[in-house]
Amino acid sequence: MGKRKHLASSLDHLFRREYSKLVALLAAKYAARNIDLVEDAVQDALLKAMQVWSYHHTIPDNPTAWLYRVANNRLIDLLRRQKFQVDATDEILLNAGTDPALPDFDQVLPDEMLTMIFACCHPSLSEAEQIMLSLKLLGGLSVREIAASLFKKEEAVKKVIYRAKQKFKSKTIELQPPDNADLNKRLQVVLKVLYLMFNEGYKATEGDQLIKKEICEEAIRLAYLLHQHRFQETPHLNALLALMCFNAARFDTRIDADGNLLTLAQQDRERWDQEYIQWGLYFQQLSARGREISEYHLEAGIASLYVTAPSFPETDWSAILMHYDALIQHNPSPVIALNRAVVLGKVAGPAKALAAISVFESRPDLENHHLLYSIKADLLLLQDEYESAAALLKRAIDLTGNAIEKRFLRNKLAGIDI
């Protein structure tokens, strides 16, 4: 099935994928407290593969098995060298470990990967720790790549991952799948982390765009793994998958070659990835089985109305507004209220939208939010109130710390003829 390959395509990032597989397998086998040594051993195995495979200009038929053998033996080596860490259980493993019987990867791997996903998204970790640890251990990204894509300092990322790993090694996070009683609650946390991970990649901020896109793909891949191996019928997960696929379809069209942000109206619809849209529709259909409506359902609904509209003016704004009305019931956040006002403007005109904003705009958490000022400016422009719009845009430019958005707003300001 062509579209299945698209989502599960692994050969593109073989080394990254193998990294996360082997870390999951070996951490499960040798305990989470050895996670640093596990990572070192896997890194060494990949290094050896890089050298040996390139000189022989070939990749073995079963790269996972090849790498597993090398990493396992390397890990035993490293554990022996650090004798002070070896306790009785380790000793048994070590003696049984060299030249291991290979596990049945197809059978064992999904379980170990799922366990690892739940461990990286453990509730005892902070959101930042969950995201960065997931990118490192599940995504196979290096600290440098994470820092480059999230536009953070390497040292800062290193610190977060260090802290996360300290908790990871402690007794709190056991590498065991959550109890059935706990499962749904834990799954919700995992979904939240994947949602945030996707948004980190999707955000139009500075940073390595290539890796940012890969972070989005990684979030989709992990969600798909959950879907494939255990949670096919979980409406929240399917809605999240739909949402991510719809947005991923537009990834390449949001920023032009010069790094300028493009609005939905300016984006080249011909270049939206139809395969992702088809996947989105597929998961959206699955997500409708069941009674629950989550925020993921509503956001997926909005995203699908955007990507399936024949053109920007033909977008079904009333339907989108209904989704926003429901979304606000779930989550009365001011940012959602602002986005709702934009849609209200399309349906009922800018005056109505400005009136809606005036109801909540004095909230203290909005006062310094650039979005308030840029959205109001857009609405005022529609009413030909250029001077007030320009003043608001200036305020928005001062308030945003994001260089891409700053440039976008400056261009808009320059276009106003006062």
């Binding site: 990032h13 073989l14 080394f15 990254r16 193998e18 990294y19 890194q43 060494d44 990949l46 290094l47 593969a49 890089m50 050298q51 040996v52 495979w53 390139s54 000189y55 200009h57 196979g140 990204l141 290096s142 440098r144 790549e145």
Partner: protein
């Protein structure tokens, strides 16, 4: 055609810092380079070398642990190939991916009976 030896030297501290993705890209670059030499029937043989080793010296009784050179100079692999002459062998080496990570290639002509 004459036979030449490439001796690849690099800093063993560099590769452990590479990310999985970078390692894969680097591997692809090496594969492509070697594949091209192979298709032109210039590639004879080549292998990477394990980092550990021994050095025997004196009258054979002095055995020390390798590697045998400092830092950036460690031999990481070798390749035997055909080339017209030293200039040709040098030219062929210029696109070797080892330079992407600050490595070096030493090029030596082998000496055959016929010469």
């Amino acid at each position: 055609m004459k036979k030449f030896l490439y001796i690849f030297r690099n800093d063993p501290a560099t590769p452990p810092k590479m990310s999985p993705e970078e390692m894969q890209d680097h591997m692809k670059a090496w594969m492509t380079w070697m594949q091209e030499l192979s298709e032109k029937n210039l590639f004879i043989d080549g292998l990477p070398l394990a980092p550990e080793g021994k050095k025997v010296s004196g009258d054979g009784s002095v055995v020390t642990d390798g590697p045998f050179m400092e830092g950036k100079e460690v031999v990481g692999g070798y390749m035997l190939l055909y080339a017209e002459n030293l200039a040709h062998a040098t030219e062929l080496s210029k696109v070797c991916p080892i330079f992407d990570y600050g490595g070096q290639v030493e090029i030596r002509e082998t000496m055959d009976m016929e010469q």
